[in-house]
Amino acid sequence: MIRIYLLKFLTILISSIFFIKLFSLQVLDKDYEKLSQNNAILEIEDYPERGFIFDRKNRVLVSNQPAYDVMIIPENLSPFDTLSFCKLTGINKKKLKLNLESARKYSKRLPSVVVNQISKESYAELQEQMWKFQGFFVQKKSIRDYRVNFGANVLGYVSEVNTEDLTKDSYYRQGDLIGRQGIEKSYEKELRGKKGKKFLQKDRFNRIIGPYKNGKYDIEPSQAQNINLTIDIELQSYGEKLMKNKRGGIVAIEPETGEVLALITAPSYDPNILVGRKRSRNYKILANDTISKPLFDRALLAQYSPGSTLKPLNALIALQEKIIDNETKYNCNKGFYYAKNAHMDCNCRYGTKNDLISSIHRSCNTFFSRTYINLINNSNSASKGVEKWKNYLESFGFGNYLGYDLPIGRPGLIPNSEFYNVLYKGENWSATNIISNGIGQGEVLATPIQLANYACALANKGFYVTPHFVRTRKEEKTKIKLSKINTKVETDYFNNVIDGMHKVIEKGTARIAKIKGLEMCGKTGTVENFTIINGNKTQLTDHSIFIAFAPKENPKIAIAAFIENGYWGSRWAAPISSLMIEKYLYNSIDRRNLEKRMLNGSLENEYNKPLSGANFNINE
């Protein structure tokens, strides 16, 4: 019996179960009854609020503000009143048509942004009339709110992802923001967090009526991280004010830790103008300024000749290589002849006898040229000499990317023997050919941050810590390894060089930088530079450079300043650096007159000279 009826019984049983289940699903369950009216579940990305950025003293630099994007799922679109839509959202008809077309091209089922960041008011108005616009919805998101008008080059900016980003990283959806520059870019992952998902129930008028199944399936976004910068925003803003109407870069670093206290490029811009709807227009204006290049971060990207600021380093190398010692003296007669008809000029008076210390504070070209020639000739060949010298420079962070945690940089340049083989078409060059390197006027190129890092190595007497912009957070690994990097010069050799740099302030080339009661060390530099006007190499007014650290014992700040076409080092770079040091160490300025002169001083005339088309004089 059972053999005949088993399957029949099962068939009836299963069918009955199906009946009951379907009856409860389709007829009894009010949830689904409701769903029959509205049906579609809307999946919305749940954005975690982008992380805040603080400065080293916990002052908020960057926070967020709400913005509302009008989104579309092209598949759900039905004909709508374009005129009233445009009026509500403030978009013009042509743009709307274009955006709808590109949304459709991107995906029929995934949401795209149609109108960017509408105001709170139009959001409220639009929300009321949303039923008229099938397929549209509003997504709230937060955009950046820069609380300061400074530090744009450090903070960077965010902008909407482009097609390239979308194909590179599937995390992003059209309309998402991505860090483009500065900290926003290099700490993008930490700042953005990880977005979650929300499932929303819509009714048949396309209005969102609440979370689907009480948010049972929602995925919580993972919190974005806040970031503490090493930057002291007060110092940063003071530096930017000092650099008004000048071009160049200043970098200040805490020598012991490698924490960058200020990174100033001039001219710069207010980070707030690259937020929201006005972003792209303003960006275009900044990018199109090819003369003053406000988007070009001179502190990180500009490669200048270091000039005389390289002299202390050459002295250190010579000491380490035992070319000179503390007693070595050279006569200087306003310079010297290093070859037939080849004279090295110097500012020393006739018959000056310089030892190591006085040669530094007088910035004696003779002393350093002779030392450099001896250094190079100390090896078997000039090639080997140059390579040895180059290794020393590299150990101070020159000639390569420093490895800090901002996305841009330049390696600078330290010429090697290969470089000169090409330059002189063979190996028949000698120390006298490359003598300018001894006084920093040769082929060496360095960025301001490299110079500041070099100042740190001097301040620390032989080591530096990779400069960085984000303070170490306990719970996570930092992006870069923060350990002491030793230079190739032993600590003992630093003392006399530092004494020399101390004298630079006390009675040398940078007396103007003297701060009462502060033992400060520094070195000025003046760099010849050229441009090409109508095909002719034309010399421009010298660049003004200064490196310094203070106090002499236990230095708290090291600084490098580079002012384009500022003439000699102590004219602009030294006073500006010294004011910044005063500001950082004492938090107030005593030397009001000097401050006033620096704040108001302008080099715009100088910058306009080569553009004027007329003949002009330099170094006046």
Binding site: L7, L22, V27, S36, N39
Partner: protein
């Protein structure tokens, strides 16, 4: 003279057949196929860019499959009644060869080597193997010397089933392999020891148990269960042989461990996920459970009378994937509502019961067994596919007979049913064996 007589005889037989054709089955067949084509049209219909008649559309293709299957079905009907019994071994061997050939010439789609592709037409030999195996089993069972109480006969039958199952698993197509389980009903009907059914049920329960709970937990539980069972038996009967109980216990343990092994090491993530979803291990709406969830929403949103043909928003929104194949039932549920789904269920139940009823009236074992197998196959597909669409059965990708899109499936089930009709119509001419 004799030629004329011969023709007259043939015509008479044919007319006889026509009268004896199981018209109920035929009518249900046509209803189901029509429902299928209509719903395939609806679930693949694109509002934006569609004219009603499109020769590239899947609905039109399905219609073409149907016409082709129907023509071959008419040939099947006209074939002499003994034809299929005679050629059953050959058909079976041919289908096995097709399965083996897949490994050399098969086409890989979504990681499954389950299709032959000729001139743009894809053929799924597993479908044909279902029909062929049914024939082969019927043929074997109708042999006089076969007795399912004997080990030799049993192993012969199992061999017939196991060969296509293994070949199908190697594709790998877990769902289709599972379908071959339906022949257990045929064997049971023809005298298989009920213990087999009992052990099958036990092993299914143990399997679910093993997948849900940690393996150690299950082992402890089994030990405790059999221990208690032993002591209870001892209390009642005083003297109990521990041996059979111990054997079952060890076998159960081994079985549970092997399930665990298969699950962890052999199954693909796709199937693992599906099993997990069914067992309620995970609730990830956008992951694997998504299909199931969307399918239930679609069916549930249909309400009592449905949203109307071509009006299903879930369907139009493409929320349910593979809706023209495995999830066709959700489209029916959404657009035709409870009326529609219950009609489909009644049609399937009637068809299965009808075939089972006629099976008992067959005069020989071949006819009965074949009809029984046909009913079992339809039952199994129906049970798994509809059960899956409403969340009662794990998501196993197999088609709903006559309705789901697919040429191989359409052809197989048409042939399956028409061979049954042929055999059934000839039952009066058959001798009882």
């Amino acid at each position: 003279m004799s030629i004329t007589n011969h023709y007259q005889e043939q015509i008479l037989i044919l007319m006889n057949k026509t009268f004896r054709i199981d018209w109920i089955t035929v009518v249900i067949y046509f209803l189901l196929v029509t429902a299928g084509i209509l719903n395939i049209f609806s679930s693949t219909y694109d509002i934006e860019s569609s004219t009603y008649i499109n020769y590239d559309s899947l609905a039109f293709k399905q219609f073409a499959f149907f016409i082709f299957s129907l023509i071959s079905g008419v040939f099947v009907l006209m074939a002499p009644s003994k034809f299929f019994r005679k050629f059953s071994s050959l058909i079976y061997l041919f289908s096995i060869m097709l399965l083996i050939g897949l490994f050399a010439f098969g086409n890989t789609v979504y990681g499954h080597k389950s299709w032959y592709t000729f001139f743009g037409i894809s053929i799924q030999p597993t479908e044909i193997a279902k029909f062929a195996t049914n024939l082969a089993i019927a043929k074997l069972l109708s042999e006089i010397q076969i007795n399912l109480k004997k080990i030799k006969s049993l192993s012969q039958v199992f061999l017939i089933i196991v060969i296509p199952v293994i070949l199908t698993l190697m594709q790998p197509d877990f769902g289709s392999a599972l379908i071959f389980l339906s022949f257990i009903f045929v064997l049971f009907r023809e005298g298989l020891n009920p213990n087999f059914l009992f052990f099958l049920a036990l092993s299914l329960i143990l399997a679910i148990f093993a997948l849900l709970k940690p393996i150690l937990y299950v082992s402890v539980f089994l030990t405790g269960f059999f221990g208690c069972f032993y002591f209870i038996l001892k209390k009642i009967y005083k003297k109990v042989s521990i041996f059979p109980l111990l054997t079952v216990f060890i076998a159960s343990c081994a079985y549970v461990y092997s399930i665990n092994h298969v699950y962890n090491d052999l199954l693909s993530q796709r199937h693992k996920d599906r099993i997990d979803i069914f067992l309620g291990k995970e609730t990830d709406i956008m992951g694997v459970g998504y299909n199931l969830n969307q399918s239930i929403i679609a069916i549930g949103s249909g309400g009592l009378s449905g949203k109307g043909y071509l009006q299903g928003t879930q369907t139009k929104g493409r929320f349910v994937p593979r809706q023209h194949t495995d999830y066709i039932f959700s489209s029916i549920g959404e657009e035709w509502g409870f009326y529609g789904t219950s009609t489909i269920i009644i049609l399937f139940a009637t068809l299965i019961l009808r075939i089972l009823f006629r099976a008992e009236q067959q005069k020989n074992v071949f006819g009965r067994s074949y009809a029984y197998g046909t009913a079992s196959l339809i039952f199994m597909h129906f049970f798994i596919n509809v059960g899956m669409s409403i969340g009662l059965v794990p998501t196993i990708g197999i088609p709903l007979p006559f309705i789901s899109y697919g040429g191989s499936s359409m052809f197989t089930f048409t042939t399956l049913v028409f061979v049954y009709i042929n055999i059934d119509a000839n039952r009066l001419n058959e001798t009882r064996i």
